[in-house]
């Protein structure tokens, strides 16, 4: 790790200015991603602006019914917060499925959103990687592809975004509050992260120096029944092969009146499954339609030779999660449903 200048900002705008003015500066949240990258040589900031003492560490109910989460709220505190557990359990589930206790105790909400891909080539400075060093090429195209994208990738980068939390936030229609040196603005979560296109070095639409100060969740009654499901190679912690966050509300006749679906582990950004939502909305909640919705979403999938299995896996995961949230929305216990046998999350 290279030595760096360590600074503390006075307030949010000041922090934004400190970073904006210096191309070699970066914000320091919990450091669990950034420090790792500094050790690996993936990042070498000369100035770190510590923001963890800024007053952005509250979870509060908003007057219009939503919830505002400060950017510095630690992942463990967020997952345990009563407001979140009661009204947005999918967010707690997503957080708790990620990393481990002693990391979640450090990791912040903003840092989690802005964590970078776990692509092995991105993390290995001896290999070409367009995201780390634009123009050098993408090693994954000929290399190991198991954990790479099946949706929305480009010939320049096939990496996936690793955050579990962000997938839940995407299903919840969160807004990200961003402060630059002068003003504050809101970015819908679905527009925060980018697809790689020809500029995979940019993970998000934020400018250098933009500080995330909070994430706001809208009031969403059906979120009470939302669920997160993560498929991984090992029961103990591991990044997702595929993950699904879903919520559903039912009309009086039992048909789907509204639905939210987001996928993780499949694309350069948390993937809002609009096609699947479209296919389901305003129709009966049947097993066939769950499967059809999953198929509709993945019709556009372009897997790599090394990860074709993810398409079917994603389909199964979507269907299983829909079945589960449907049972929840119907007021069931999540154990019934077409599968018969217990459907609880494992």
């Amino acid at each position: 790790m290279n030595p760096f200048d360590y600074r503390r900002a006075e307030d949010a705008a000041g922090a934004a200015a400190m970073v904006a003015d210096n191309p070699a500066a970066a914000f320091l949240g919990g450091g669990t991603n950034l420090v790792d990258h500094m050790k690996l040589g993936v990042a070498a900031p000369e100035v770190l602006v510590d923001i963890t003492h800024l007053p952005m560490d509250e979870v509060e109910a908003l007057p219009e019914g939503g919830v505002r989460i400060g950017a510095n709220v630690r992942n463990s505190d967020l997952a345990a917060h009563p407001l979140i557990r009661r009204r947005y359990p999918v967010l707690s589930q997503a957080l708790l499925s990620g990393a481990s206790g002693q990391l979640r105790n450090l990791a912040t909400t903003a840092g989690n959103l802005l964590q970078r891909t776990r692509c092995v080539y991105f993390q290995d400075t001896s290999t070409p990687c367009n995201k780390r060093e634009p123009g050098t090429g993408c090693s994954a195209l000929e290399g190991y592809q198991r954990y790479h994208a099946i949706l929305g990738a480009s010939p320049d980068c096939v990496a996936v975004h690793p955050s579990d939390m962000a997938v839940a936030l995407t299903a919840l229609d969160a807004q990200v509050v961003v402060q630059d040196a002068a003003t504050e603005r809101r970015v819908p979560i679905a527009r925060l992260h980018r697809l790689p296109g020809e500029a995979p070095e940019h993970d998000t639409v934020l400018n250098h120096g933009d500080l995330i100060t909070a994430v706001e969740l809208p009031d969403m009654p059906m979120a009470v029944h939302a669920r997160y499901r993560k498929v991984r190679d090992r029961a103990s912690f591991a990044f997702a092969l595929v993950s699904v966050a879903a919520a559903m509300s039912l009309g009086a006749d039992g048909s789907v009146s509204d639905v939210r679906i987001a996928l993780g582990g499949v694309a350069h950004k948390p993937w809002r499954a609009l096609r699947a939502e479209e296919a389901l909305r305003d129709g009966p909640a049947t097993e066939e339609r769950f499967a059809a919705a999953a198929r509709a979403e993945l019709a556009e999938a372009r897997p790599l030779p090394g990860n074709t299995f993810k398409v079917a896996l994603a389909r199964s995961a979507i269907t299983a999660t829909l079945r589960q949230v449907h049972a929840e929305a119907r007021g069931g216990d999540g154990h019934g449903g077409p599968g018969g046998h217990g459907e609880e999350q494992r």
Binding site: G31, D36, K39, S126, A235, S316, E343
Partner: protein, 866 residues
């Protein structure tokens, strides 16, 4: 900050992590760094009471905080209840992960008791709380038990009983010192410069003026990405890293053979083009390599068996006639990396008399001393090797390895002590691995269902190393039906393998024991009954009978299940040889009113200290505080390396012999100090200061399998150890996940010297076998040959939540011919586990896994997900 209850000042550089600050600047080395990337939990500290990964935390972030390390957990009334519980339930083996577990568990237990009173949390709650910690030894069963008991308030006071493991207290308090904790005054740091090419001639190396040592062989050729070329040293780690970056290497690239499936085809680039180069190829096995002919990158076969021609003919004929009693199958395994949590490390120093002092993380203290003496032309007693605690080995820490050679050479060049510690990426690339294998199995039963022929060809993938011995192990199983067993090495430009806990055994059993299951299905016979019939050995029949009587087996439903979640039960048998080393000696001396044992033997977590302690205590009837044991110094009496299941079988009897000799010596000097039962009077020891005796490892009745001990191997004993594993799994057929639920491990290896430690080792064997079966897979880049799984997040070893409930059963009879009545269990307790998982998955789903790991995608493909 407040550190362990007292104010502490430090002014770390901005590039220092909290872990480095605590360990290197404040000298609190209980906190360990095993991955440096947030994955393993070994570095966990309490920051303002919250468990925190200190390897990713800038030290500056500790300013003004309250920090507790493992050293600070104990309170005014002694150890934290969790520390006592870990000691009492033996929640550890090598102990390298223990400080991290203990710190996290202390926070969990305190919180749990505050919220729920003194109640036992569920296994799932404990698993969740400790999910961020990895224990490669697999001591999870003991950890579960310890945490539950501490929560229930069972360890609030000091236990009257000594813990089962002699050094438990040192390990739970962070006092146990490992090589990575050694940093003498004025110590320089060394860094290895490694090849970035899979295959190249090195035309020139420019060390840029650094103190360095050249590590390239005579042919100046590198044969894998990561091969050490050169080592440099400098007074600080940062300077050493900078010096390493300045080294310039002029490579002349050669075509590389990277794909083990194609390396032996005509036209593939050849890894070892000359006889000399072939002979210099490293071995991935113990003992001398089997003979074998070279054809390009294919070496072998080394053929064994009996009536091999008959076996081959019978299998061929059966194939021709389409005989259903022929099982002809191909099974595959990939490289499995040892992943000891303490990396390979050495601190070397030359003293003013020209003696060489080596602290090193080794499983062969004497072996290193002998090899070092030879290499540097010193008498053996002038090489002083110390390995007080060793954070796991599993086979990868034998002999004079590069970290020792480089550190010693650099220490000489620098005129200062030099320390060389592998980082996790080096450890996962170039510290050895269990070679992969493609195994072609032929198993034929005759009309009566007896074994008529066994053929096995194993193509072993040990990178650029030779020595694969997989098929050869067919000598050990299922009677004396005709068999042909051939091992080949397929050489590639990938890192070399090393012996790994039962070399060849896991690959061999993965194939054979699934093959036997397939045969049972064809014959319509119970898989245990078939094994019992084919095996014939009395000791192992007792294990089959035990397994058959287990409710999980007797009451299992037959045939694949239906529905999304399906349960299955699988069984696998395994045999292994045991060795003893007749040269082993244990010395005892009375010092400060206690009996002190000293032996060169290392304790890599398998409990050699405890074996000696227990034997001496029991034999002499002494209380715990009157027996002390020192191990891990080459100057102490001879003991073998920890491999080949021979440590316990060698030191146990030698310790007993020594204890008996000491009793006779005491009787001679002070007849009143020995009671009628042979116990020594502890009070009398004070007046017996200096009384000494030595004990030897006597020969077993009936001698050994070979007339003399084999060089570097010891003497193989008579009789095979045996294991039967019964595994219950649950398969999620929708998402492809396999969850091991319960495992029963039946072991026949004679009397256990220390029951709890032996169980712990067998439990760890199950955990490692599950890792092999389900998660562990080293991956290499298909284009460059570089290892991609260079951190513990990508190379996945099992965590506590992946551990099934494990029950260990020892069948102790049948080893009366062995002095001491017991032999080693390290290997036999793990090699059959993966096959038991495979058989269980088949039982659950009807699909037969042929390749490890049984990943979700393979499973889904296998069961036909559309």
């Amino acid at each position: 900050m407040t550190l362990n209850g007292a104010a502490a000042e430090a002014s770390p550089g901005s590039d220092t992590t909290a872990a480095e600050l605590v360990r290197d600047e404040l000298g609190l080395t209980g906190t360990k760094v095993a991955c440096g990337a947030g994955v393993c939990g070994a570095c966990t500290l309490l920051v303002d009471g919250t468990p925190t990964a200190s390897c990713l935390l800038p030290a500056t972030a500790l300013a003004g905080r309250t920090v507790t390390t493992v050293e600070g957990l104990a309170g005014p009334d002694g150890l934290h209840p969790v520390q006592r519980a870990f000691a009492a339930h033996d929640g550890m083996q090598c102990g390298y992960c223990t400080p991290g577990f203990v710190v996290e568990a202390a926070a969990f237990v305190d919180r749990h008791r505050a919220e729920h009173g003194d109640t036992r949390p569920s296994r799932a709650e404990i698993a969740d709380a400790l999910a961020g910690h990895l224990c490669r030894c697999g001591a999870y069963e003991g950890i579960y038990a310890a945490v539950a008991a501490a929560c229930a308030g069972e360890h609030d006071t000091e236990s009257p009983l000594p813990p089962p493991r002699a050094e438990a207290e040192e390990k739970v308090t962070g006092r146990a010192r490992y090589t990575t904790d050694v940093r003498p005054e004025g110590c320089w740091e060394a860094v290895l410069v490694r090849s970035t090419r899979a295959h190249a001639r090195v035309a020139a190396v420019d060390a840029g003026g650094a103190v360095h040592v050249d590590l390239l062989g005579a042919d100046r050729t590198v044969r894998y990405v990561g091969q050490p070329l050169l080592a440099v040293a400098a007074p600080t780690p940062a300077e050493a890293r900078a010096a390493a970056e300045r080294v310039a290497v002029d490579y002349r690239d050669l075509p590389a053979a990277l794909d083990p499936a194609a390396a032996h085809h005509a036209g593939a680039p050849v890894v070892y083009p000359t006889r000399e180069a072939q002979n210099a190829a490293p071995s991935n096995n113990e003992g001398p390599p089997l003979p074998g002919r070279w054809r390009g990158n294919l070496r072998g076969p080394s053929g064994f068996g009996w009536r091999g021609g008959t076996a081959v003919r019978r299998v061929k004929d059966a194939a021709k006639r389409g005989d259903r009693r022929l099982v002809a199958e191909v099974f595959r395994t990939g490289p499995q990396v040892h992943t000891a949590l303490e990396p390979h490390a050495c601190v070397a120093r030359w003293d003013e008399h020209g003696d060489l002092h080596l602290h090193t993380s080794t499983q062969a203290v004497v072996g290193v001393a002998e090899a070092a003496a030879k290499r540097w032309g010193l008498p053996r007693e002038r090489v002083h090797v110390t390995a007080e605690h060793v954070g796991g080995g599993f086979g990868a820490k034998g002999g004079l390895r590069v970290e020792v050679v480089a550190a010693a050479e650099l220490a000489r060049a620098a005129g200062a002590p030099v320390r060389l510690v592998f980082d996790r990426a080096e450890e996962l690339t170039d510290a050895g691995h269990r070679p992969g294998a493609r195994v072609e199995l032929g198993l034929l039963a005759d009309a009566k269902g007896d074994l008529a022929a066994l053929t096995m060809d194993a193509y072993n993938d040990g990178g650029m190393s030779t020595g694969g011995m997989v098929a050869t192990l067919g000598l050990l199983m299922y009677g004396n039906a005709p068999r042909r067993l051939r091992d080949f090495d397929v050489l590639t430009n990938r890192p070399p393998g090393a012996p790994f806990r039962g070399p060849g055994g896991a690959q061999f059993h993965w194939a054979l024991e699934q093959g036997v299951d397939m045969m049972a299905e064809r014959l319509g016979e119970d898989p245990l009954a078939l094994r019992r019939r084919w095996d014939g050995n009395r000791k192992r029949r007792a294990l089959y009978d035990w397994a058959a009587a287990l409710p999980v087996w007797a009451e299992r439903t037959r045939g694949a299940g239906t529905g999304r979640f399906r349960r299955g039960v699988g069984v696998a048998a395994a045999n292994w040889i045991y060795l003893t080393d007749p040269a082993t000696v244990v010395d005892l001396v009375v010092e400060d009113g206690a009996v002190v044992a000293r032996s060169a033997v290392q304790d890599i977590g398998t409990g050699s200290r405890s074996v000696i302690t227990d034997v001496v205590r029991t034999e002499l009837g002494l209380p715990a505080d009157r027996v002390r044991v020192g191990v891990g110094r080459s100057g102490w009496s001879y003991a073998p390396g920890s491999n080949g299941s021979r440590t316990t079988a060698s030191i146990g009897p030698a310790a007993r012999d020594a204890a008996r000799a000491l009793r006779e010596e005491v009787r001679r000097r002070a007849p009143g100090a020995v009671s009628g039962s042979g116990a020594l009077d502890p009070e009398a020891l004070k007046s017996l200061e200096g009384t000494q005796a030595g004990g030897r490892r006597r020969r077993d009745r009936g001698g050994y399998l070979t007339p003399v001990a084999l060089p570097g191997m010891g003497a193989p004993g008579r009789g095979l150890t045996g294991a039967v594993h019964v595994m219950e799994v649950e398969v999620d057929t929708l998402l492809g996940q396999v969850r091991p639920l319960r495992c029963w491990a039946g072991i026949s290896a004679g009397r256990m010297y220390n029951d709890r430690l032996a169980r712990n080792q067998c439990e760890g064997g199950v955990v490692q076998g599950i890792g092999y079966a389900l998660y562990e897979q080293r991956r290499d880049d298909p284009v460059t040959g570089a290892v991609l799984t260079t951190n513990l997040e990508d190379y996945r070893i099992p965590g506590i939540g992946d551990t099934p409930e494990i029950t260990v059963h020892f069948h102790e009879e049948g080893w009366e011919h062995v002095v001491g009545g017991g032999v080693g269990i390290g290997e036999v307790s793990t090699i059959g586990v993966a096959a038991a998982v495979g058989n269980a998955v088949h039982d659950a789903t009807g699909w037969r896994p042929r390749e490890v790991p049984i990943r979700p995608d393979r499973l889904l493909e296998g069961i036909g997900l559309k």
